[in-house]
Subunit: 187 residues, 4 copies
C-alpha cells in the first residue's frame, strides 16, 4: 500500500511489448507454426517464464498481434468519388504488400487460408473499409456484397502472386482488375 508501482508496471509493460514485437517479426518471417515460444523469448531477450506471465498460451499471443503489419496499410485518402477511393485503396495496398516482400505475403496467405484468426480479422477489416467507401453509393446489403467481391478479387491477385512465386505481377493485375472487372462491379 502506498508503494509506487509505476516503475514495476512500466517494466512489465515493456516486457510484454518486446515479446509482441519479437513474435511479430519472427512469425511474419517464418510463419506461426515454425516459431517456438523459445524463439520468441530469445529474440525478445526475456525468459520463457515471462512469456507465460503475459500470455496464458502460445495461441493467446496471436490475439495481441491482430493489428499487425497488414493492418498498418494507410487507408487515408482524399479521393472524392467512390471509384477513386476504391482504386486508391486497392492500388496502395497491393503496392505496400508487394514491397513488404513475397516471402512475407506467402507466410501470411498460408496462415490466413488455414482460417487463422488474424487472417480473418484482416479480411473483415478490409471488407468493412471497402464497404464504408461503397456506402455512399449503395445500400447496406449491396455494399457488403460488392465489398466482399472486390476484396476477394484483390486477395486472389495476391494469391496468384504467391502461388507462382512472384511470376504474376500483382500491381499490373490489380490495375487491370480496377480498369475493368472491378469497375463493372461498381457499376
Amino acid at each position: 500500500m502506498g508503494y509506487d508501482n509505476t516503475k514495476r508496471e512500466q517494466k512489465s509493460q515493456e516486457s510484454r511489448e518486446r515479446i509482441v514485437e519479437a513474435a511479430k517479426s519472427l512469425i511474419l518471417a517464418r510463419g506461426y507454426d515454425a516459431v517456438s515460444v523459445s524463439d520468441i523469448t530469445k529474440e525478445a531477450g526475456v525468459s520463457k517464464g515471462a512469456f507465460y506471465i503475459h500470455f496464458k498460451t502460445k495461441e493467446d499471443l496471436i490475439e495481441e498481434m491482430i493489428d499487425l503489419v497488414f493492418l498498418d496499410i494507410k487507408q487515408a485518402s482524399s479521393e472524392k468519388d467512390v471509384e477513386g477511393a476504391v482504386y486508391h485503396f486497392l492500388y496502395e495496398s497491393v503496392k505496400t504488400i508487394e514491397e513488404t516482400g513475397l516471402k512475407m505475403a506467402q507466410t501470411w496467405f498460408s496462415a490466413a487460408a488455414n482460417g487463422s484468426i488474424y487472417g480473418r480479422k484482416k479480411f473483415e477489416y478490409d471488407v468493412a473499409y471497402v464497404e464504408s467507401l461503397l456506402a455512399r453509393k449503395f445500400d447496406n446489403l449491396e455494399a457488403h456484397e460488392k465489398a466482399v467481391r472486390i476484396v476477394s478479387n484483390y486477395y486472389g491477385i495476391l494469391l496468384s502472386w504467391c502461388i507462382t512465386d512472384g511470376e504474376v505481377n500483382p500491381t499490373d493485375y490489380i490495375k487491370k482488375a480496377l480498369d475493368n472487372g472491378i469497375k463493372s462491379i461498381l457499376g
Copy 2:
C-alpha cells in the same frame, strides 16, 4: 512370377487405401499440420512402418490426396460459346471443391500460397485450360492475361471462403462474379 500374388496385392492395395481414407477424413477434420503420421496409421489400423511402404514422406501423402481431389474436376463441356464454357468450368470447379470440404481447401490453399510445386501446377493447369477456352475469341497474349485474371478471381473467392471459415459462400460469389466481373473481362 509364377506365384499367384493376387491376394497379396489386393491386401497391399487395401492397406494403402485405408491409409489414404484415414488421412483424408482426419485432415478434412483437423487440417494437415494437426494430423500426425501416428494418428493416420492408428485410424487406418496399420503399423507406422506400413505408412512408409506406401508413401515416402508425410508430404507425399498430401500430394496424392490433392491430385485425387483437385484434379478430378471434370472440364468436359458441351458448351458452344466461350462465356458458357468458362461459366461451366468455374461453376463446376467451385461446386466440386465446396463439396470436398472446407478443411481440405484450407489445407490446399495454405500449401499453395507457400509456393509449393503442386499448388503452382494446379494454377498453371487451370490457367492453361481457361486460356484454351479463350483462344477462340482472343489472341494469345490477351487470352493468357485474361485467363490469369479469371483464375485469380476464382481462387480469390475460394480463398475468402477459406479465410472466413466458410462464411463467404463460394458458389454464390462465383455466380455473381460470372454475371458481372468476369463477363466484363470476356466482353
Copy 3:
C-alpha cells in the same frame, strides 16, 4: 528323390553371391552401420526374404566378407632376403590401399578400430604373413613380436592418412619408416 536339384542350387548360390557382392561394395563405400539390409537387397536385386534365407542376421553377413578387398592384396614376392620381402609387402600394400581411395580406408579403419571381426581378421592375417617372412631370421616369439610392431607401424601410417583426410602421404611415410624405423626392428 531323383529330381535334379542342380539348377535350383545354382540359382540359390547365385543369389547368395549377389548379396555378398552388393554388401561388399556398399559397406566399403559407406560403412557397415550406414548400410541397411534393404540397401543390400535392393542393390543385389533380390528380396529381403532371400537375405534371411542365406544369413541368419545382418551380422552374419560380415563373416562372409572377411576375405574381402583388403585381403586381396597380393603378397607374392620373389624377393630373396627378409628385408626385401617385408619392404615389398608393406610398400605394395600401402600403394594398393592408397589407390583404393581415402574414403574406403577411412571406412575400413573406422570399423576396424571398433573391434569388428573383419578388422581383426585382417590384422591377424597381416601379422601372420609378416611373421612368416621373419621366420627365416628370428625365432617364433621374436618373429611374432616384431611382426606386430611392423604391422602396427604400417597401420599407424595409414591411420594418420585417414585422420588428416589425406594430408599425411602414406607412401612417403612408409618409405621413411622402412628406411629407418623398420630397418632397425629387423636388426
Copy 4:
C-alpha cells in the same frame, strides 16, 4: 541478478555431470553407436529434454567427453634430453589411454579414422607437441617429419590394441618401439 541462484546453478551443474557420467560409463561399456540418448538419460535419472538443455546434439556430448579424457594427458616433464622427453610423453600417454579403457579408445579411434575434426585436432596437437620437443635437436622440416612418424607409430600401436580387442598390449609395445624403432628415428 539480485536473486540467489547458487542452488539452481548447483542443481543444473549436477544434472549435466550426471549426464556426462552416465554417458561415460555406458559408452565405455558398449560404444557410442550402441548407446542412445534415451539410455543415457534413463541411466542419469533425468528427462530426455534435460539432455538437450546441456548438449545441442548427441555428437556434442562425445566431443566434450573426448576433450575431457584425451586432452587431459599431462605433458609436463622435467626430462632434460629429447629422448627422455619423447619417451616420457609417449609412455604416459599410452598408459593414460589404456587406463581410460579399451571401449573409449575404440570409440575415439573409430571416429578419428573417419576424419572427424576432433580426431584431427588431437593428432595435430600431438604432432605439434612432439615437434616442439624435437625442435631442440632438428631443424623445422625434419622435426615435423619425425614428429609425424613418431605419432603415427604411437597411434598405430593403440590402433592395434583396439583392433585386437585388447590383445596387443599397448604399454609393452610402446616400450619396444621407444627402445628401438623410435630411437632410430631420433638417432
